[in-house]
């Protein structure tokens, strides 16, 4: 029995169905479906959420937030790692202006620094084996819709051996009446075997 259906609007359900095309095995950097050439993570806006930050969001069922988080996370992971591997220069479009990255203990803050950082990082091949996500409690975010995304897998940077990695993101939502655009507020990346690299 699907508990969720009763909470979904029609639009949500369509959006969910459309994304079922993505569902395959472990992610490798394959092309996103047809029209997705821009680097943006977009999901349908939840009802009542086309609101500015100062307005309180309507209190929807928790599971709706969970579903939204999953959608955002899946969409995001598809786009992020493909962009990282194949369109590195566009990667920072996925970050907020003041976003921060902690990369194996190195702190990078702000778009300029991020641009430089990703430019100097060798080319990459990511394979994501795990993805989990949670909606972040509004008490921590002051009602700014945020999703915690956790990924894990392997990465091969050119000229280096392959590493297992863990990566965490905080995605924040900017909602318009038509859609919600998600951007990275913060990013934490670690090789699992960093001490032996």
């Amino acid at each position: 029995m699907r508990k969720y259906r009763s909470h979904w609007s029609q639009g949500d359900r369509e959006g969910y169905q459309r994304r079922s095309n993505y569902y395959e095995g472990p992610h490798t950097s394959h092309s996103s479906p047809a029209d997705r050439t821009r680097e943006e993570v977009v999901t349908p806006t939840l009802p009542g959420h086309a609101a500015t930050r100062s307005q309180m969001a309507t209190s929807l069922d928790f599971k709706t937030y969970v579903d939204q988080a999953c959608r955002a996370a899946e969409e995001f992971v598809n786009i992020y790692y493909e962009t990282m591997d194949k369109r590195r220069r566009a990667l920072t479009r996925l970050y907020l202006d003041k976003a921060t990255l902690i990369w194996n203990g190195n702190a990078v803050s702000g778009l300029d620094a991020l641009n430089n950082f990703f430019d100097t990082l060798p080319s990459s091949e990511f394979q994501v084996n795990m993805l989990d996500c949670q909606p972040v409690h509004e008490q921590a975010t002051q009602s700014q819709t945020t999703v915690l995304v956790v990924t894990s897998g392997t990465v091969k940077f050119d000229g280096n051996k392959q590493h297992f990695f863990n990566q965490n993101f905080l995605l924040t939502a900017q909602s318009t009446p038509n859609n919600t655009v998600w951007k990275i507020a913060s990013d934490c990346f670690r090789f699992q075997d960093w001490s032996s690299s």
Partner: protein, 532 residues
């Protein structure tokens, strides 16, 4: 207590600032790579030195940018670097001037000089080489100032048509090893031996002539637009001998179609090249072909009608390297202490055998989920299969109902879930902590470490974890968890199990309260077990 969590010398705001400054320096050093003018220059290489000052000036001023092409072999990286110091600066060279040419044309004007270079000509005897070239060359030529520089042989000729005729010899002569010999042509400005012959007013004439040569509007036979130096195109390959070096135009490489050539217009290569060799290189695979091209022509972002797939992979990528991996990262000393204290208390309870004590650590509406990696090659159930049924890996879990069920919500549900997970002992000394986001309402940090299972079938097995906490300020300067994500994985690929679990009580930081007697007993018990 958390030796891995401490930065050497402690982590103060000054360290943060210093680190930020170091990071600035790191960025600036490498951001210079984005300069389009001298793609062959690398952050650690010496400056480009071109002995022809006049020519250099012409490079800078003229719309035809020779600079990207005319990188002398002195600036080549890799195996030639040690010879870079012996570059031929024509101003300083002490070779006796050749008297065969006076530098003047019969009508008194100065001809245009060209430098002819034979890559790896150092292996060839001068006379033999010049004879070989002359035999093939359609016009007689008089080589001036024949010399070897680095691995190449060079000489000058004073005539555009002679230079062009020599260029046509490229690839049509072979040495005794049956290797093709190539010839490269470069406008040479005013060779030093000519300087010495001239009076100062003639230098001005020459400069004028040089500027004219650099004029874009030239006739069809435009020698200056021909591809030039071998050095700029070289791609460093380890242990590469001459036969595998890839100079521009070397070894009769095939080239793009005429349509492709158009894409190069914007970088002043010129579409009037009579032969096809200059454009492409003879790398073995497409990607490095593109790499070397990008190295030369950083303006090129699109090849073959699509964005260059390896746009970030430019040549030998001396500037692209992974940053050094560092230990724990904390935003501030105060928060560090807060987090470490929290972790110490959390895992004390977590490992105590009764996890109900964690109720006070969680927000009423907190979330928790657990995941393990999906490995398609995993056939046998692994040691962490007991986590499997609770694992919420939405990469493979598509069912929305299950996705909802496996995300634990409310502190009661969470602690109940935690209570049924295997009993553990965490190795605090293995903890690596990244504090990666903080606002006044929220603290995000991730803990990486290992733990041991202390009972059940897998007793003694060591697993690794990454746990991400999002917490808000709690009462009495504690943390209140709102989100908790636990990722558990095997350690077998690391092979570090035997080195783990070496708790050393004396390593505890003074900023964290000392262990109580009960805690110390646990430590002793645990240390005794750690031999296995």
């Amino acid at each position: 207590m958390f030796p891995n969590s401490h930065l050497p010398g402690g982590h103060t705001d000054q360290v943060v600032q210093r680190r930020a400054r170091c990071w600035d320096i790191y960025q600036r050093r490498f951001s210079s790579r984005s300069e389009p003018v001298n793609p062959g220059m690398h952050s650690s290489s010496h400056q480009q030195q071109d002995g022809d000052a006049a020519m250099h000036g012409a490079h800078m001023d003229s719309p035809v940018r020779y600079t990207p092409y005319a990188i002398s072999p002195y600036n080549r990286k890799g195996s030639f670097r040690k010879q870079d110091q012996t570059h031929v600066n024509m101003e300083r060279e002490q070779k006796p001037p050749e008297r065969r040419m006076e530098g003047n044309m019969p009508d008194g004007t100065l001809g245009s000089w060209f430098k002819i270079t034979v890559p790896f000509g150092i292996k060839y005897n001068e006379k033999w080489l010049l004879n070989l070239i002359q035999n093939e060359c359609s016009v007689p030529f008089v080589p001036v100032e024949f010399h070897y520089e680095n691995m190449h042989a060079s000489f000058f000729v004073e005539n555009a048509s002679i230079a062009y005729a020599l260029k046509n010899v490229s690839g049509k002569i072979w040495d005794e090893d049956n290797e093709k010999i190539s010839i490269f042509v470069n406008p040479a400005g005013i060779p030093h031996f000519v300087h010495r012959e001239l009076k100062s007013e003639k230098v001005e004439q020459i400069k004028l002539a040089m500027n004219q040569q650099c004029d874009v509007s030239q006739e069809a036979l435009d020698i200056q637009r021909l591809p030039f130096y071998p050095g700029m195109a070289e791609k460093e390959t380890e242990g590469a001998g001459p036969s595998s070096c890839s100079f521009l135009g070397l070894r009769g490489s095939s080239v793009t179609s005429a349509g492709e050539m158009d894409k190069w217009k914007g970088i002043e290569l010129g579409e009037k090249c009579a032969d096809r060799s200059p454009v492409c290189t003879t790398f073995l695979d497409t990607s490095s072909n593109i790499n070397s091209i990008l190295e030369l022509f950083p303006k090129v972002l699109c090849l073959d009608g699509q964005q260059s797939p390896r746009a970030t992979l430019c040549g030998t990528e001396a500037h692209k390297r992974l940053p050094t991996c560092k230990g724990s990262f904390f935003g501030s000393e105060m928060l560090k202490n807060l987090v470490l204290q929290f972790l110490q208390q959390y895992y004390l309870i977590y490992d105590s055998g009764d996890r109900q004590g964690l109720l006070s650590a969680y927000h009423d509406e907190a979330c928790f989920s657990l995941s393990i990696p999906f490995n398609p090659e995993d056939s046998a159930p692994s040691r962490f299969c007991k986590f499997f049924k609770d694992s919420r890996n939405i990469k493979i879990l598509k069912d929305p109902y299950l996705r909802g069920e496996l995300l634990k919500h409310t502190k009661l549900d969470i602690v109940d879930s935690l209570s049924v997970l295997p009993k553990t002992q965490h190795d605090l000394s293995s903890f690596l902590v990244d504090m990666w986001y903080q606002t006044e309402w929220m603290l995000c940090f991730s803990v990486n470490g290992v733990f041991k299972e202390v009972e059940g079938q897998s007793q003694g097995s060591v697993l690794a974890f990454t746990r991400t906490f999002i917490a808000t300020p709690g009462s009495s300067s504690s943390l209140c968890i709102v989100n908790d994500e636990l990722f558990v994985r095997d350690t077998s690929h690391q092979g570090t199990q035997s080195a783990l679990f070496t708790l050393v009580p004396t390593a505890f930081s003074s900023s964290v309260p000392a262990f109580s007697q009960e805690q110390q007993k646990m430590v002793q018990v645990f240390s005794a077990q750690s031999g296995g």
